[in-house]
Symmetry: C2
Subunit: 387 residues, 2 copies
């Protein structure tokens, strides 16, 4: 999406795929130590056998490496509940530009011995050092997981549903995702997935994960009863078995795939104040008119993260010009982020200024110069090209 | 404890006490933005009125500033549940050594626009910049809080109690603290606090915080039943009203005060593998013999954080020589941290090498030189004096 790992000019590609050994797993604390090339899904399987889960989950889990996840500060589907990798990564081993091995691979939950150096490398996309091993805290595996898929009459009701469910579900809420009617039409048309509820302008997927199935069902039941009775949602379905849970999640997770089958896709990954999250989608539909095939909004509403996508028959410079810098300016006007979870890479490096002030960009440049004076680590990425 | 904020030679003291304004609080997301001089307890009160809580709580809450909490990466009593400030702080405004105002005061949960610069300043004790404002994520206020205070026959049972309760209490467990019998004797002798359960070699304080009082009570009840039946604990008491909860917490929170009344105190704040957490206390008792008045161990067991304290009639160089570097060497032998949550300051700067390799200390020095070339920010602190 942003081309953070794609070579563009004269780069040398470095793969950590063979560094795929698990070093240790502690059953009491849930701390996993492994090499950077371990595939996320394989790590998930390993820790789940021991009644833990990885603190992150994302669509690309079958192929992505944990080292890459950390280097890009991957967000994903469990962020709402378990938070960011800046909190979950306990330690890193990093090879610096001069070949020094920086061993900060501690497994301690608390360590205030000086600067927390590992933080520098989380989300720096390999531009400050190469992550070679990771120590990460895994939460206990929930004993019960449920998914509710709901239809909402408007975005205002999506927001009210979110507030209500935060109150009712409390500590068991583990995901709050939304998608608009166009997303549902596209997964229907291109992937033949059926909408499991009555057609609605918006859909919400709520996941709960807890330690007591009976208690969780009671909380979810009373929330749904209230949501239906008060008109926040017009229709809903509930899944507690894994097969149906997967089926409901597929509606949300496969939107990207459906968009890819719809035409050329212009993609934006924005953080916005949750109340204004959908305004940009509506405004863009009006702005682009017939030039766009579809303008859709979906994403991790619980984290204030909108995935805004525009499809067209083919790439067109005039459509791009109608989108950019407009989308970035609009986002900056809301003090939003022009890259919520997908990073900067090659494509977004010159729009950083919409979300970061000059002093921050200058400090980024100074850190790059300090840690990689010859510019050999993932060149042409993350930092503004004019810096 | 480490003298991070104490002037020692020719420093100028900079107070942020007058920068005590709350900038904004968002009722939907729970994001608080405030100036650095706000007192933690006042912020707690403010967000609790709106049904949120601060993600950190500590004994010094009545006087400590949020800016100082962030600068020292304060841990405290809610760490087990809500995690570190590296995860909870969303944004910072920092004044750099050259007077530049670095505005990273975003309120977004997700923002992957380049390096996460704020992380550099969390826990750097004011040596890289002066934090002037903080944006922090507040969790929803739990609807029900309970505290169980239990007596355990040995440290092995403390550990087994911890494992069992992680499984039974799951997402509602919010604190797991322990103290040994000597701690209880000292709070009894010096503060006249009565032990609420039968005398035991170890005591455990378990706190739950959840969104449904009935469900929480059922979880806690079935855990306690199992713990008593299987001999993990020999006696226990349960509190659900605020007055008794405070009384039970006081037994744990006032240990420091009781130690201060017992004589001169040698204090260590260590992170250790939880299985080995108490071994050092036992070994030190044998090593020090009659030279020490009391050797005690207590702390945040759930986070692997031991507070090891030794009291004596007065300071003695020979007792200090028996303690240091022995305590640090022992900790390093367990890959522990010589400063879990209290930082480095003036007193610990020359023991960093026990927990950080030379390459890490070198990078710390380089970052200090980059951000504070004239060494004007909290000089003589955090970095090794020989660097």
């Amino acid at each position: 999406m942003v081309g953070g790992s794609v070579p563009v000019f004269d780069e040398i590609v470095l793969s950590t795929a063979l560094m795929n050994q698990v070093v240790s797993f502690d059953d009491v604390s849930g701390t996993l130590v492994c090499q950077a090339g371990c595939v996320l899904e394989e790590l998930s399987r390993l820790v789940e056998e021991r009644d833990f889960i990885m603190p992150l989950d994302l669509g690309a889990k079958g192929s992505c490496h944990i080292g890459g996840n950390v280097a890009t500060n991957a967000g994903g589907l469990r962020f709402l509940r378990y938070g960011s990798l800046h909190g979950n990564v306990l330690g890193l081993e990093v090879v610096l530009a001069d070949g020094t091995v920086l061993n900060c691979l501690t497994s301690l939950r608390k360590d205030n011995t000086g600067y927390d150096l590992k933080q520098l490398f989380i989300g720096s996309e390999g531009t400050l050092g190469v992550i070679t091993a990771v120590s990460i805290l895994c939460p206990p595996k929930p004993k019960a997981v449920s998914v509710a898929f709901l239809g909402c009459p408007s975005f205002a009701e999506v927001l009210r549903t979110f507030r209500t469910c935060k109150g009712s579900l409390g500590e068991i809420l583990s995901a709050f995702e939304f998608m608009d009617a166009t997303c549902m039409q596209l997964v229907g048309r291109h992937l033949h997935l059926a909408c499991p509820v009555q057609e609605s302008p918006f859909y919400v997927l709520i996941e709960t994960s807890g330690s007591h199935a009976g208690h969780d069902a009671e909380k979810l039941g009373s929330f749904l009863e209230h949501a239906l009775a008060s008109g926040l949602v017009t229709d809903g379905t509930l899944a507690t078995d894994q097969r149906r849970i997967k089926m409901l999640w597929a509606l949300r997770e496969r939107i990207t795939e459906a968009l890819g089958l719809d035409g050329y896709v212009y993609k934006y990954d924005l953080s916005l104040p949750v109340e204004r999250l959908y305004d940009l989608v509506t405004a863009l539909r009006a702005r682009l008119g017939a030039r766009a095939k579809h303008v859709v909004g979906y994403g991790h509403l619980g984290d204030g993260n909108l995935h805004l996508n525009v499809t067209a028959e083919a790439f067109s410079p005039s459509l791009l010009a109608a989108l950019e810098p407009h989308v970035y300016e609009w986002t900056a006007g809301q003090q939003g982020s022009v890259s919520a979870e997908h990073g900067v890479g090659f494509k977004k490096r010159d729009v950083l200024g919409y979300s970061k002030p000059p002093a921050a960009l200058q400090l980024m440049g100074q850190l790059k110069a300090l840690l990689d004076p010859k510019g050999i680590l993932n060149p042409y990425k993350t930092l503004p090209s004019r810096a």
